[in-house]
Amino acid sequence: MTLTVLYFAWVRERIGVPRENVTTTAETVRDLIAELSAREERYALAFSDLASLRVAIDQELSDFDAPLGSAREVAFFPPMTGG
């Protein structure tokens, strides 16, 4: 499947793009992270500490073991700092 993957804040800066289309066979968010991290160093660096990352699937906060199912959009970002 092809997903739109979005990155925000320092995750975006480390990976170098705000969004990209990713064709993947990953079944969970964790699989997707492993796949991207194996691709290039900049991904491995951005995903090196999952405790400092959050993930949203189709614009809803989710977790790393969530199945991607029929997801269209996955976003990675640091803990939010609104207000």
């Binding site: 804040a9 320092w10 614009q59 970002f77 939010m80």
Partner: protein, 147 residues
């Protein structure tokens, strides 16, 4: 219930006044809060707020809807800015209207606690020397547990 996510400044006085005017009749209490860009030690030159268009509006609308289920609110309003801001500029505001003040105060605090840690905004602070992303604070995450 209103949510506005915008780059432009907002007129806090006019927003508060308009909100209170609209709440007349149903409500006996209005609580408003605004957050401004704080210059911790006099070195901040600016702040940039990034957000996740689409998810931001969804998250804020969901937080407002949750507040509506917990308290008897006549109305609520969230305005949150994004983009470049200078020290002293207003970042965001919330307003709540209820029959009695306890509900209005509690709902306003709930909205603030949730939008700090659950709405997809990220702040980057700039000084003359460098820039850095504001780290989320453990106290802000802990604040959610009281609800």
């Amino acid at each position: 219930m209103t949510v506005r996510v915008q780059a432009e400044p907002f007129d806090y006085g006019a927003e508060c006044d308009g909100f209170a005017q609209r709440a007349q009749g149903a409500a006996g209490a209005v609580v408003t809060f605004c957050g401004i860009v704080r210059d911790n030690d006099g070195t901040l030159t600016g702040m940039d707020i990034e957000h996740y268009p689409g998810m931001t509006e969804r998250a804020l609308t969901a937080i407002e809807a949750e507040a509506q289920t917990r308290w008897a609110l006549a109305d609520s309003l969230i305005i949150h800015r994004h983009g470049p801001l200078r020290p002293g500029e207003m970042i965001m505001m919330v307003a709540t209207a209820a029959r009695h003040r306890a509900d209005a105060f509690a709902a306003a605090e709930f909205l603030m606690d949730y939008l700090k840690s659950r709405a997809p905004f990220w702040k980057k602070e700039f000084t003359a020397k460098d820039s850095d992303w504001v780290a989320a604070r453990a106290e802000d995450e802990d604040a959610l547990r009281r609800w």
